[in-house]
Amino acid sequence: MASQPQAGAQASQSRSQLAKALEEILPYVSSALKGVASKVETDKKSSAIVLEVERDKILEAAKTLYTLGFDHVKSLTGVDYPDRGVIELVIHIGSYRRGLRRVMAILRANLDRKNPRAPSLVGIWPSTEFQEREAWEMFGIVFEGHPDLRRLLLPEEFEGLWPGRKDFEIPGRKAGEIEEPWK
């Protein structure tokens, strides 16, 4: 049966306390990620700690974040920068622990656009399994070590097409023009 519900909003901190909590956690995280992350800073607006990481250090950064208490991934996606020839992997990692609940970690890593490869994080955070499948389907990022990297949302007709990338324009259809969906 529903246990005694935990006291709600009166006990929660207001936004200012949120910023203070962010400050406490920042040194704690940056010390843990000394050699791994190239840049660690806070983004007060979105109450998050932003980490820039090299491609081959992603797994290591993920392991340390997991030990710090960030236990699930809220969103894993790519951002396509065709002019810089880079697809940026952006991972929002959250935590259900009482202390870390107010804070999110945003892990960023640049992958080469022609052949984007990244280590699969399913081993550390199983919640990324479906999100990695969608990232592969939309951006072509191949996650090495993913249990079954197949299509999640799109039908099979999109073989070889990466709709998430900027060079995939949407076919702006003129009114009345009928397109045969199966052809």
Binding site: P155, I170, E179
Partner: protein
Amino acid sequence: MEGGLVFIGDLDITARKVLRWLIERKPLRDIVEWATAFSLWPVHLMTSCCGVELGAAYAPRFDLERYGSLPFVSPRQTNLIVVEGTLTRKMARIARITWEQMADPKFVIAMGACAIDGGLFWNSYNVVRANEVIPVDIYIPGCPPRPEALARAILMLQQRIKRRGIERHDLEIIEGSIRRINGGIARS
């Protein structure tokens, strides 16, 4: 009687021709049309988010069961498809198969702006118009249309059945030539 009718050839087609000849007679046709009009059972095919309004239409406030329409289980036993909202490519294939699995006098209501012409998602690469896939009888504008609009569509379909009668395609399907369905996919 327009000319003599001689039924020869394959038993199945002859039986269907006899049935169709019988049904076209006055008293029986009215009863069949009256029964079909008041027993439009939509198949359980929720294509997209307008399904919320279809659910609300069969709920206590706008009860569509007043007109005899009862959402039922499988395509075999129902005679109405309500295409609720957008048809993506994957769902279009399912809608087509469901339409082909349904028993013959069948009708389609395209509900919402997305089913008419893509609506909000007109330029999405994954969206297909309803009439490109299955022949549509009644269109309902609105995004999502109010449950009263769905009730009005059911009533319009009832009047159309009484006025225009039921077109039966079972002979064309058996003889292998699905006629060009208005705007739909032609197979010769």
